[in-house]
Symmetry: C2
Subunit: 334 residues, 2 copies
C-alpha cells in the first residue's frame, strides 16, 4: 500500500509572480492554518522566509519599491530571481501565478525546475490549449524528476472544467460543453498581464502582439468598446483537458465571455453548460453558475489552492507527472 | 512511486441488487467498452459469466421468473446468494444497488466481503448519514482487508455533493449548502425499494416502518398527496460526507425535495446551492442545476460508474479504505 500523506504537516507554499493573482493567493493563504506562504518571486527579486511571509508588508514593498526583492529580512534583488529561488530549501509547492507571455514561458519555467532537480508540487492557472500541450510533452520528465504538476487549476480552465468533467457522468455521450465567463474588474491596471492575455484572444491579436502593447495602447483599445472585451471561441485549454480526461473530443468544448475592465460588476454570470445524451437517449443540459459576487481572484486562487493541497497529497503518495483539473478533486484547505 | 494502473485492463463489474438501479447500471455498462458486467445477485439467486452478462436476457428472466438465479447458463438459485457470489473469482468491483433496509444492511454486506477476504472495489449509492457513519467504523478493516470502498456515489449523495465540494473552493467559509431534488417516475413499482427509502424520511416514519409497508399501504399513502412525496431536512449523508472532506460542519448542509411517483416529468429542477464567504468578504451562491430530462437512473448510475472506475484506479495503486464522492474525482468510462 502506498504511503498515506501526513495530514498534519503544513504545506510550505511558494508563489511565482506577484501581480494580481499572486497577491490574491498570498492574502487567501494568510487566512488558512494548514498552508504557510514561505517564498515569492517577481521579475526583479525574490523573498524567502521559513516562518512565513506577511502579505501586507510584501504588498507594500512591492507597490512602493517595485519588487519583493526589497523585503527585509529575506529579500534578494536579482535579475535571475527564478533560477535563484528554485534551489531554496523548504518549499513543498509553487503556485505559478506568472503571465504565460510568451506562450512558451510556463513550459520554460518548468524546465528550469526540472534542470535544477527540484522535487515537489507545481500548480498553474494557465489558459491556452497550446500551453497545456507543451506541458504534456514534459510529462515523462516530470515523472522521472519527481514533480507532481497540476495544470489548468484556476477558474477556466479549472473550477468550471472540473464541474463539466463531473457533470458529464450523467451522460453516455457529451455533445457540447460551453463555458461563458463574465469578469468585472474596476481597475484593469491591477491585472495587466491577465488583460493582455485576454486581448491576445481577440481576432487579429496573438500573444506576442498583446505583450508588445503599451498601457496606452490598451487604454486606446478599451476606449473603443467602453472598457469591455468580447471574446468568442477562445483557444482555451478546457478543450484539451476534457479531451485528455476522455470526456469528449476537444471540438465540442467552446469558451467565450465578456470582460468589463471598468466595472467590478460582472457583465454576465459565469457558467458552464454541459449538454449530453443519457443512456436512455434523452438530451439534456446541466448548468453550473457562479455567484456574481465572487471575483476572478476568488474563483482562480481558491480552486488553485485546493489543487495545490490535492497535489501535495498525491506527491506524498509518490504520484508524479502531469495531472489536470478534470482528473483530481481539489482538497479543502482549512 | 506507486504502481500506475493499467488503463487497458477492462473492469470486471458485479452488481448486487437487481431492482431499478441495478438494471439501469447493467444497461448503461452494456454500452461501454472498458467495463464488462460479469456478475449479478438478487435475493433469490445469482449469475456469473466471465464473458459478460446480457442485460436484456437477465431482465427478461428476472421479470418472468423472479430471480437472475434462473439464468442459463451461469444462474444459481440460492437463499444465500450474497454469501455465494462473493467467493466467485474474476470480479474487480461491485456496485451495491441494494436497498439499505434495514439501515444496517449495507454495512452488514460489507462485513461479509471482509469476512470472506475479498479484495477489490465496492461502490454504494447509499443515502442516510447514519449508514455512512457505520461504514466509517469499518474503515480500518477495509484498509487492512485490501478493499477500496467509495461511499455516497449516486446523485445525492454523489454528483450533487461532489459539485458542492468543488464549488466550495471559491470560498473561505461555507455558510450553507442546500440540495433540492426533483424526481419524477411514471411507475413507482419499478423503484419499490427507493420509494420505501424516501417514505422512511417522511415525518412519522422510519426505515423499519417503511420496510414493513405493503404495496397497498404505499398506494394509500400516495393517494393522499396526488402521488407526490414532499421531503424536508432529510437525514442525508451529503452532510457527513462534506464534513469529512473538511468543507463545513454537517449542520450547514440540508437536503430536501419532491418525488412525483405518477409523472416522469420532474416536479422541480434538481439543484445544489453553495453559499459562502470569499476571502474578500463577499457572500455569494454558486448553483449547479441538473437538466430536467436526466432521469434518477442516469444521475445515479452514471456517476456511480465513474466512481467505480476511479476506485479501480485507486485500488490498482494500492489505496484501500473508505473514500467519499467528495474526495475523489470520478473517471470517465468509455
Amino acid at each position: 500500500m502506498a504511503q498515506e500523506p501526513d495530514g498534519n504537516k503544513p504545506l510550505a507554499l511558494g508563489i511565482l509572480g506577484y501581480g494580481g493573482l499572486g497577491q490574491a493567493m498570498a492574502q487567501l493563504v494568510a487566512r488558512r492554518q494548514s498552508v504557510r506562504w514561505v517564498a515569492v518571486a517577481d521579475r526583479k527579486g525574490y523573498g524567502v522566509h521559513p516562518d512565513g511571509l506577511n502579505p501586507l508588508s510584501c504588498q507594500r514593498v512591492y507597490q512602493e519599491r517595485g519588487s519583493v526583492g526589497y523585503l527585509e529580512p529575506g529579500g534578494v534583488l536579482s535579475e535571475t530571481s527564478l533560477a535563484e529561488i528554485i534551489p531554496q530549501p523548504g518549499v513543498n509547492a509553487y503556485f505559478l501565478a506568472l503571465p504565460n507571455l510568451p506562450n512558451t514561458f510556463i513550459a520554460s519555467v518548468v524546465q528550469q525546475f526540472l534542470a535544477q532537480g527540484w522535487r515537489g508540487v507545481l500548480v498553474d492557472a494557465i489558459k491556452r490549449t497550446s500551453a497545456v500541450e507543451q506541458l504534456c510533452n514534459l510529462k515523462p520528465a516530470l515523472v522521472a524528476g519527481g514533480i507532481t504538476y497540476l495544470t489548468g487549476c484556476g477558474a477556466t480552465p479549472g473550477l468550471l472544467t472540473a464541474a463539466a468533467a463531473l457533470a458529464a457522468h450523467s451522460f453516455e455521450e457529451i455533445l457540447q460543453i460551453t463555458i461563458t465567463f463574465g469578469v468585472g474588474i474596476a481597475n484593469w491596471e491591477a491585472y495587466r498581464a491577465t488583460i493582455r492575455e485576454d486581448i491576445a484572444h481577440l481576432p487579429g491579436y496573438d500573444p506576442a502582439q498583446a505583450q508588445a502593447m503599451s498601457d496606452g495602447d490598451i487604454e486606446a483599445l478599451l476606449a473603443q468598446t467602453d472598457g469591455k472585451l468580447y471574446l468568442e471561441n477562445m483557444e482555451h485549454a478546457d478543450d484539451v483537458i476534457l479531451e485528455l480526461a476522455g470526456i469528449c473530443p476537444r471540438q465540442r468544448v467552446t469558451v467565450g465571455g465578456v470582460v468589463d475592465t471598468r466595472n467590478p460588476r460582472k457583465p454576465l454570470s459565469t457558467n458552464v453548460q454541459i449538454t449530453g445524451r443519457t443512456f436512455e437517449n434523452k438530451i439534456a443540459t446541466h448548468t453550473f453558475t457562479l455567484g456574481d459576487e465572487t471575483s476572478m481572484a476568488a474563483n482562480v486562487c481558491g480552486p488553485a489552492l485546493g489543487y495545490l493541497q490535492a497535489g501535495w497529497q498525491l506527491h506524498q503518495q509518490g504520484h508524479f507527472g502531469l495531472f489536470t483539473c478534470a482528473e483530481v478533486m481539489p482538497r479543502w484547505v482549512s
